[in-house]
Symmetry: C2
Amino acid sequence: MSDKISKRLDNLRKAMKKNRISAYYLTTADFHNSEYVNDYFKVREYFSGFTGSNGNLLVTPDKAYLWTDGRYFVQAEKELKGSGIELMKMGEDKVPDIYEFLEQNLNAKDVLGFDGRTITVSQGKRFAKIGKDKGFDIKFKKDITCDLFKRTGFPVSHAEVLSDELCGESPSEKIKRVREILKKKKAEALLLTRLDDIMYLYNIRGNDVEYNPVLMSFAYLSEDISVLFLQPEAVTAELKEHLNRADTMIMDYWNIERFIGNLQPKTRVMIDPGQVNYSLFKRLKKNCCVITGVNPTVEMKAVKNETELKNMREIFLKDSAALTRFMLYLSKHVGDEEFTEVSAAELLFKYRKEIAEFRDLSFGTISAYRENAAMMHYEPGSAGEVRLRPEGMLLVDSGGQYNGGTTDVTRTIVLGEITEEERRDYTLTACSMLNLMHVKWLSGCTGQNLDIIARKRMWDEGKDYKCGTGHGVGYILNVHEGPQNIRWKALEKQAELKPGMCVTDEPGVYRAGKYGIRIENLLVVKEWKETGDGKFLEFENLTFAPIDDRGIDRSIMTEQELKYYLEYQGSVVRALESSLSGEEISELKKYCGLEAGI
Amino acid sequence: MSDKISKRLDNLRKAMKKNRISAYYLTTADFHNSEYVNDYFKVREYFSGFTGSNGNLLVTPDKAYLWTDGRYFVQAEKELKGSGIELMKMGEDKVPDIYEFLEQNLNAKDVLGFDGRTITVSQGKRFAKIGKDKGFDIKFKKDITCDLFKRTGFPVSHAEVLSDELCGESPSEKIKRVREILKKKKAEALLLTRLDDIMYLYNIRGNDVEYNPVLMSFAYLSEDISVLFLQPEAVTAELKEHLNRADTMIMDYWNIERFIGNLQPKTRVMIDPGQVNYSLFKRLKKNCCVITGVNPTVEMKAVKNETELKNMREIFLKDSAALTRFMLYLSKHVGDEEFTEVSAAELLFKYRKEIAEFRDLSFGTISAYRENAAMMHYEPGSAGEVRLRPEGMLLVDSGGQYNGGTTDVTRTIVLGEITEEERRDYTLTACSMLNLMHVKWLSGCTGQNLDIIARKRMWDEGKDYKCGTGHGVGYILNVHEGPQNIRWKALEKQAELKPGMCVTDEPGVYRAGKYGIRIENLLVVKEWKETGDGKFLEFENLTFAPIDDRGIDRSIMTEQELKYYLEYQGSVVRALESSLSGEEISELKKYCGLEAGI
């Protein structure tokens, strides 16, 4: 592998020299700053060998550096071995970020190169600022890798139309709401480039990115017109009719730059600088007034409406039943049937597929046995064929795309004997998850205010998990969705948690080389009560899969936590009673530690 | 009162007309953006009648508006009654802040006036921006109130020199540290206008603002020179010698503008835009390069050194003993001696004065009986002579300035019968205070992360207190000190809590017209332990005054809270054992609910 990478980097360096570029920056992004991208865009992976979802590569004539975050440190160290690429651990003390690095290492006469379509406005502006201060130039118009990296075809799929009954609000109604917000922001138009926002706005879906039901698209929305830019191959008769009802015209995806170039000069166009790509922004700035702000669609999409919530409640119940059936089967048969990490994931997939509304998985299932689970984003199979034995723990983080919602759930299954240390950490994780599920707060809080409720039990013992506690989840859309999250350390201004927003609740304990535990439910923000002191909010829980009672040491739970625990396990049994067989229910009760019924 | 105010506003409006000003803005600030100011600067109070420490007045030809924060809503409503001034409740929904208000109400051809010396750079810039957008002008060079408001003399007092033994670090050493930070920020000089920062840097104190031991001063620090600007009357022979040792020259306070005007053109001068006044900034910008950033002295001052901490521990013990003696005496004699809110505060003052290191109070004692305590910043006596009876509760929030530290402590004393509701809220308050005292957290957190630990017990019952949970406290300096605090709602970027920083821990329950409860200790951040997951921090408690056991309902405490409570009460008895008489100790044990000793 490392030879192959060295050769690729050599070729890249030759192209850099030819183009007079002294440092070339490769990101993980497509032209839409998507978190997950089609293979077409995996240029950073091609040149570094690192397969994680977050990583940026900087190549200089004699060195190369890869930045990634805490989820991927272990994996990146493995995958970069022998490549000569230096791992830059984001967020660690004394590790400069890309901006600091450029400031420290690039000088006058240097040229920084990158494909401007794979960088956001915010990033591009910072690069330009540093370049100006330090006197180096920037080249962003050319992708110098195009001859070096033989790409797969550009992703394309047929557009699928979702019914208003499934979405609860028609595109026309959503467009009307966006226009009202634009008016308030004194913008004449919105340029939308975020794929899931576009899918949400027009109630359409696609299949251009694995697990993310999106279409390569742009949208332009003014007071008078609504334009959706799609590849011609994506357009169907049904779509045309659907968009016609929403007074939306279709244009060719590849014409977006030309369209922008033809806009009335000085049009006040709003863009989200954290989303729109730098090339598009530079084109827009040539003749329009650019107004920056968060896309109005971001919060609209995050706040689920009553129809979406109703569908989600049903789908989460079905998804929980499939997961529970899997957990019970695996626990029962791990001693007498052969299972590997991969075959376990396949069994769970089989149960999910039986659900009528099933469309796809919402991300690649993480099925990680014992020490493999210490890697938060472990890919089953990557460590060879790992056989499960009736001992230790299996972490399964998975989810499905359904007509009715997108699920994301993690359970850690106790397959047999575990150590006291493992049981203690399992219990802490369960308590953390349950404590957050039950928190009540004054309206106005962000996830940053709430995070410590989950983490407190860990911090009290000097333990911590190196990731956020939770993230938003889309509705028949991307499994990671903003703007809300649950994190103690804010990288940017945090979004207020509002009724209808959902977040995962997924604390964990990770012990490199030993084990990993994570328990994850999905919660929805809802109104609790209004008192003389203000409006208070709480969470509604959507996930009803059991917590493995064999992992629990009740003696280290507080009275309150034990109450939460028993209540939760009871609620799982009640929720699944009609979906499981009588035998399964009695197994479930035992699995839950509810011997004498509920 | 309201007639008097109307007349004053009429006169102000005449002056506005004469100066062609359509809206005049009056703040609470002196020329240094101090939180508390000498009477000389109380121009907003003069024109509005509102006496609170935070409030800004905007006067237009036919209306007037006063902005203040939640601590003062009740008081402001009372004091503004009949004045025609509209109360603008800061932070409430739908109440515009001053910027939004100006945007909505001022138009082209209008002129906004204010004294630029009483506005910070940040505020002035925002005014200027709104003015530019809306087309209105700004006049900031003239104080049009000078003929209308007969001021007291400009505050002045003799400079006092603190020994290095008291401060733990000499001015020369502190100046060296500042210069290192300036070098890193690529600044050639620092213009310091914040009074407590200047006192801290040069180890001097004064008496120019009630309770705040500061001198009217400016400072200018470059790589080569250190200049302290003081009024000539403040300078003593001892001070000259002291500053000489620190290579610091003295200039006249009133020459600061001229000095700035004479700086080498293009000098890169750093200022804190949240601190420096707008007039000074405009002068500086004429010939210098202005670099903005937080004053390096802010964090230096906030992180107490070992000498300061050692002195503080001793002083807090003595202060706690004085307060405890007062609490015991009052509890015992409230039935047979005559007490008022004011005389109770005087008794406490008497006990404090007996401490050898006592200098002054650190703020006006709040002694608030029953419903008066619902006003967070109530001034005893303002509701007439309020007699204490052996029933209900007395809230006493007080502190002292000592050679060895500044204290701030609140206790709510149960004088006799209280209701079940009062006891419940008293217990919640005690639990909130104790829970925060015991929190442990991963290094990197801000007070925003921790606030919910104090507030959780309240929020679980739909209750909330409308103020922060805690603030920093100076060392023989201002009782409110940044940058750290404990607040869930951040108005600006929060400061990381670092070892050596201290914060108050003062949750409460306030029921307008009924009662108010607050319990406040002072905590210092310290290292707890380092594990494989990172460095963890915790608090050390400095306040050892009892919690009134008659206010406590142990049945609603969790097991953990009861443990914290009994441990705390025990620690108070142990801490005060050597300072109190045998009789007082046995009374204290009873007061603490520790019948059988500890």
